[in-house]
């Protein structure tokens, strides 16, 4: 039985640029199953980040519907949307988006503060999560004192603070070197396999291909094709030869 966690119906997003209207998404229909690792791929400007924002309730579609866990996102109140962002989803961004005035530990506890978790409990959880991402010894450093890879690890720990069922990652490796990028991908993949978190990642990093269950190719605001893992493996063999 398929357990669909995310479903989009004819999602259209238009941006007004002066007198022009830019159609970033032109009717997207996808379904994502629970526990899947999905990569949204496409060149920059293809609309993959826009779609990412729609799925994460970070922006509203101009037309169409987004359903998450069977809930129509457009029918939620402001408070429900805030609770949704707080509990159901963890976000990881290309530029980390850590609050630079809070330490690694402070960044990880913030979503738990919003969730109303007690101070003792959130401190323990933050320590556990930072340990898990390998930052146990740099917990009280400010983001500015950490490397790119370490910052992204903090962001991953923060994304997991309230045990979300979905992790959304927007180009998580784009600002990182190959080796650090690989480590971050492995970490995200581990969450996916060990904790059963659904991972939806917008990327154009080919390293993401071989960990994905499915790849959704986005081009000009439309789904160009959806590839399954077995189709991917063949292509990775070809790509691997050039890339390494």
């Amino acid at each position: 039985m398929n357990d669909i966690v995310v479903k989009t119906e004819d999602v259209v997003k238009e941006y007004r640029m002066g007198s022009n209207i830019l159609r970033a998404l032109d009717g997207i229909n996808i379904e994502i199953e629970r526990g899947e690792y999905i990569s949204l791929m496409g060149p920059s400007g293809s609309g993959k980040s826009t779609l990412f924002n729609m799925i994460g309730a970070l922006d509203r579609p101009t037309e169409g519907q987004v359903y998450i866990d069977g809930q129509n996102m457009s029918q939620l109140s402001q408070r429900q949307i805030a609770a949704f962002r707080c509990h159901r989803v963890g976000y990881i961004f290309q530029s980390y988006n850590l609050l630079h005035v809070r330490s690694a530990h402070g960044n990880v506890t913030l979503p738990m503060i919003f969730a109303g978790i007690s101070e003792r409990e959130r401190n323990e959880k933050a320590e556990k999560l930072l340990d898990m991402v390998g930052l146990g010894d740099r917990m009280y450093h400010l983001p500015d004192e950490l490397s790119g890879g370490q910052r992204q690890r903090v962001a991953i720990a923060r994304a997991l603070a309230n045990d979300p069922s979905i992790v959304l990652a927007d180009e998580p490796t784009a600002n990182l070197d190959t080796i650090t990028g690989r480590e971050i991908i492995d970490l995200i993949k581990r969450l996916n396999t060990e904790q059963g978190v659904t991972v939806i990642s917008a990327t154009h990093d080919l390293k993401m291909l071989d960990v994905s269950d499915r790849i959704v190719d986005i081009r000009d605001g439309l789904v160009e094709r959806i590839r399954n893992r077995d189709e991917i493996e063949i292509e990775v063999g070809e790509v691997g030869g050039e890339g390494e």
Binding site: I4, K7, L58, R79, F84, R158
Partner: protein, 225 residues
């Protein structure tokens, strides 16, 4: 598609939590906070010095009719002259624009932070409350320091003009001379300066913070300064 547990409503945070977060932010951003606060301090110092200077002038002018101070030969009218009103209005404008500008800048450079907090589950109202607290504190402390500096400046200027007579007729408290204009007194001027600084700082920061909090997070995080 299965219907899962419905999405609950986000809770309100206790006030103490907002207070703690806003003070933490002020503390770590200390250098930047000082610059913003200095903007408020300067504006209020200018306003209060001009105003107090005027109060002192009027007070000594009043007393001059009974005593022997003759430094006002050039002043023909009684009370506040048009020139003085002009000066006070100008300093008020400088103060309003200066404070609004420094608060606007301080909030605009934090749009990304606002977007991020919303991603993590912050309610719009919570974000606005944080900025209200931060700017209220900055506004009050900046304005208080500014008012004291301004008063000190006016007193020094007064000492130069009127010598020690200044202290005999110092207009500390409000007074209503028999046939002169109402005098506010320096204490009231300082108080008004503090209140004005705080109000301007709060308006100057919560208005853009409210606008940013209303934006979808994706848009707030896209904003480049």
């Amino acid at each position: 598609m299965q219907q899962r547990t419905p999405i609950e409503e986000q809770i309100d945070l206790p006030f103490v939590e907002s207070l703690r977060i806003s003070f933490q932010s002020l503390k770590i951003r200390f250098g930047r906070s000082i610059i913003t606060t200095a903007g408020i301090t300067l504006g209020i110092a200018f306003l209060v010095s001009v105003w107090t200077n005027n109060e002192i002038g009027v007070a000594l002018q009043e007393s001059g009719r009974q005593s022997t101070i003759n430094t006002f030969e050039e002043t023909t009218e009684q009370g506040i002259s048009t020139k003085d009103i002009w000066l006070i209005v100008m300093s008020l404008i400088v103060c309003v624009v200066g404070i609004a500008n420094s608060m606007l800048m301080a909030v605009t450079e934090r749009f990304r932070e606002i977007g991020t907090m919303k991603c993590l589950g912050a309610l719009d109202g919570f974000v606005v409350r944080l900025f209200l607290l931060e700017s209220g504190f900055q506004g009050f402390s900046g304005a208080l320091i500014g008012a004291l500096i301004g008063t000190l400046g006016a007193v020094l200027l007064g000492l130069k003009d009127y010598g020690l007579d200044l202290f005999f007729y110092f207009p500390l408290l409000p007074a209503q001379p028999e046939n002169g204009p109402m005098q506010l007194g320096v204490i009231v001027v300082i108080l008004l300066g503090c209140i004005l600084g705080m109000i301007l700082a709060v308006i100057g920061s919560s208005f853009p913070a409210w606008r940013a909090a209303k934006l979808p997070p994706a848009e707030a995080m896209r904003t480049e300064v």
